[in-house]
């Protein structure tokens, strides 16, 4: 850096005075305004969802929380969130089970094992994966991935068919498994990028101390990198979960759209709140739209609970450390 004469404080001058409408104050109000905007948006969304949902919920002839079907456009509207909420949580959970180990592996490889050039290039590719539109993932899942997943399902069914989750008698194809695999690929870049950042921030002192005590590289990662990164990993996973819960079009194209509560992963079927909104919105009538919005409200609540849980976990961990 070049020594600049203009910005260097001249000895003997007072500190800059605080002015009423100076840049300091304006910038402070701007940031406060930005912060408030988030709250306003959240409240506005919640209000919109509630106002639009109430008429439909009043017209509903079944219990909204326990009924499994979705027929809001009938003369006597019947719809319930049970199977949709179940499917949303199930597909997101499986997606995370598939994605998290791989994502953490990639992140550790990038931060601690890969040569720097490789890490930069690979990191770039991972970020690129995050920029692929979800409809492309959906089409890819529907057109290509469905074949290999169907074969895997058949194999699972033949060898592990005694497990209820791999039961059924085919033909296999668009299932919770397919949706979850596509979803896993979609949340992979988010979890990878965030945890890589966290791992790279591990204080060098901690790492060197571990190595100085005779730890191997894996032991060093286990004793210094992972504990240091734990809150970050949890935050990354929950951000990924948020994405998985809200994913719409890719799931609308890869799930088999059944309205059943079933733990079976490989039989055709599966559904999610967001996918059902995408499927039903175009042709929905007045009540139908309200019903879909009510389901959106449930998704909103689920996401809120997930995020709050995330905060609580991260906060607690921080105190223990």
């Amino acid at each position: 850096m070049l020594p600049s004469t203009t910005t260097e404080p001249v000895a003997g001058e007072l500190l800059p005075r605080r002015r009423r409408f100076g840049a300091e104050t304006i910038f402070r109000w701007l940031t406060t305004g930005a912060g408030v905007t988030v709250l306003v948006i959240i409240v506005a969304i919640a209000t919109f969802l509630i106002v639009k949902a109430i008429p439909a919920l009043n017209a509903n002839k079944e219990n909204f929380l326990t009924y499994e079907g979705w027929f809001p456009n009938d003369a006597s509207p019947k719809f319930g969130i049970a199977s949709l909420a179940f499917g949303t949580v199930l597909s997101a959970t499986i997606a995370l089970l598939l994605a998290v180990p791989v994502a953490l592996g990639i992140a550790l490889f990038l931060s601690h094992y890969a040569p720097r050039r490789v890490a930069t290039a690979l990191g770039f590719v991972i970020d690129l994966l995050a920029a692929v539109p979800s409809i492309v993932f959906g089409l890819w899942g529907r057109e290509y991935l469905v074949g290999p997943v169907a074969e895997l399902s058949t194999w699972l069914n033949q060898n592990l068919g005694w497990l209820p989750i791999f039961g059924g008698d085919g033909p296999f194809g668009k299932s919770v498994l397919l949706g979850s695999v596509v979803l896993a690929i979609m949340v992979l870049p988010i979890i990878t990028s965030l945890s890589r950042e966290v791992f790279m921030q591990t204080p060098t002192a901690n790492e060197e101390a571990a190595i100085a005590l005779g730890a191997t590289k894996w032991e060093m990662i286990r004793t210094s990198v992972l504990p240091y990164g734990r809150p970050g990993i949890i935050a990354a996973v929950l951000l990924g979960l948020g994405r998985a819960l809200g994913e719409t079009i890719a799931l609308a194209m890869t799930l088999g759209a059944g309205f059943l509560i079933s733990f079976n992963l490989i039989e055709v079927g599966g559904n999610s709140i967001a996918a059902n909104i995408a499927n039903g919105f175009g042709e929905a009538g007045e009540i139908g739209r309200g019903a879909l919005i009510a389901s959106g409200l449930v998704l909103f609540t689920i996401t809120l609970i997930v995020n709050m849980t995330a905060r609580i976990i991260v906060y607690r961990r921080r105190e223990f450390r």
């Binding site: 009938d74 033909p171 759209a257 995408a278 175009g282 042709e283």
Partner: protein, 367 residues
Amino acid sequence: MKLQRLGMIAGVGLTATLALTACGSDNTPTPGASNSTAATKIECATGSLAVAGSSAQKNAMAEWIKNYTTACPGGRIEYNGNGSGAGIQGFTAKTADFAGSDSALKDTEQGPADARCATGKAVNLPMVTGPIAIVFKVEGVDNLSLKPATIAGIYSGKISKWNDPLIAADNAGVKLPETAIQSVHRSDSSGTTDNFTDYLTSAAKDAWTFGKAKEWKAPGGVGSKGSDGVAADVAKTSGSIGYVELSYAESAGLKIAKVYNASGAAVALTPEAAAATVASAKVTGTGDDLKLKIDYNTTEAKAYPLVLVTYEIVCTAGNTDKAPLIKSFLTYTSSKDGQAVLTKLGYAPLDETVRAKVAAVAAKIAA
């Protein structure tokens, strides 16, 4: 620096692609040019229209808009195939100048729609009719004929194997495998499902108990988003059966089943066979409202019974300054030339008597 160069290369690539696509779209209107010479009779109007609605008639609309704007460069029309429900909502809320819909206005929708039309009335004009193809993929089977009751049995899950005696009875002499049947239906609510279930309800009363609706109500089977999704699923899954508009069946290269009509003949899907069913449709609307009732149990021996009908929902008056263009465009679509375009897109033209009535209403559209 490196990044910049990369960006430049990408830019060049993008430009090349764009140039190529531009060439591509330049080439397509050439056959359309002959159309526009035939359509010089179009009485042009100027202005712009926003139309929204049924995705089932999207291809027809796209072709009509192309032909119309070739003949009348002063008229700009945009069709948003976002679904009949959204179309009707947009029409009522005045964001759409008219709506395409897979089903006529319901009683609950008629009131608000009439209110929108101020001095006029909202009417249903049948405009695009087309056959629904039953597509299948079964190893070793090239020809398949199905009775409505058999289709209903398959789709309600009662028939689960291809060598079921009921299917065998419809296909004397055809060797059917013992594969399981994977029935594919639409996962999104759609007019195609509405028409398909309407057909099953009236042609196979005893076997189909789920009524008619835009949403799929029968248990089992696999749902797929959009007709393209259904076609893709059928193309991939051995032992599968699906229902799609003819154009999707053709573009996916799927085998199409013959369907038995009420006269007892198994009829292959051709535009003529579908037109024969459309010809037997009755107008059930009153006045200018031309709501159609398809006779799915037509006894005409050559008729392919499984057809769908879609409407344009439009104000007879109260269209303010949009009136001339709406009138001009719908007059073209309901003309003989306009309807003739439909055949090559996999739709079926309206029957002449119905077409004349639609054209008469279109000619009356006022401000």
